[in-house]
Symmetry: C2
Subunit: 154 residues, 2 copies
């Protein structure tokens, strides 16, 4: 259904939570679980993943926790998906040659590549900072696109 996984969403929620704090704030898993009302094991798991992706810095031991490693304005949603879901490829075929055994016959392959690029571009154009601050939404081509779609619908 063209959906990203719930876990990934949770991961992003967590990251957004960090982005709301002053830069460098350290929060531990328990605190995160409380403020997001998510089950502790899930929070822990996702934080680990995010740390592994070099998005969070982890600090062990008592008084430990996680802190945001990068400027929220520099982290794109595309990157997050990359880190949490291992890449954005609308279909196996899009990921590169060798994934589909009928790449020759297939006439739709190349157009899909372009579509995939478009989607990726859309995701790369939104940053973590923009996820936190509502209001200004500099999403590319959304008006032109939706109006075009509206025209088409007539």
């Amino acid at each position: 259904m063209l959906r990203i996984s719930k876990l990934t969403d949770y991961g992003i929620v967590l990251l957004a939570r960090f982005a709301q704090e002053p830069a460098g704030t350290t929060l531990n898993a328990r605190e995160m679980a409380e403020t997001t009302a998510l089950p502790m094991p899930v929070v822990s798991k996702m934080l680990k993943t995010l740390a592994g992706a070099e998005l969070l810095r982890s600090q062990r031991g008592s008084k430990g926790g996680y802190s945001l490693l990068r400027d929220p304005a520099d982290v794109t949603v595309a990157e997050l998906l990359e880190a949490l879901e291992g890449g954005v490829a609308l279909m196996d075929c899009t990921a590169g040659p060798g994934h589909c055994d009928q790449e020759e016959r297939c006439t739709v392959r190349e157009p899909w590549q372009r579509i995939n690029s478009t989607v990726l571009a859309a995701l790369a154009n939104v940053t973590l900072a923009e996820l936190v601050k509502p209001g200004s939404a500099p999403l590319i081509g959304i008006e032109s696109a939706s109006s075009a779609a509206a025209q088409r619908a007539e």
Copy 2:
């Protein structure tokens, strides 16, 4: 991994196959299986689905088969995904209220809606006809988006 299912892809390949023929051409499941080199049961299943979605007209009996019901230039990729995968909702939460039990707390919900709209718009801007004819690719904002992403990457 933000991917559409293989079956869906196959369905689109089949549809594209029809779009290449003169309008109204009737092809049966066996023929489709041959020209696409896909296993017959799969082809059959997807054709049924497509017929159910009112994209193909089905004709039973001997000399029967399927034929394209709509003008390829009027069918958008977004529609296809809608029909084959039951909607485009990046995450459960995006599909509407009541899917996620923390809609209140969640600060990322609304921004995601916009992102979802953007992706949807991108998909709604490509028609079946454009999938078949390569070359001209009027994908929205792809240059502006990729250049914006490039700027960001610096």
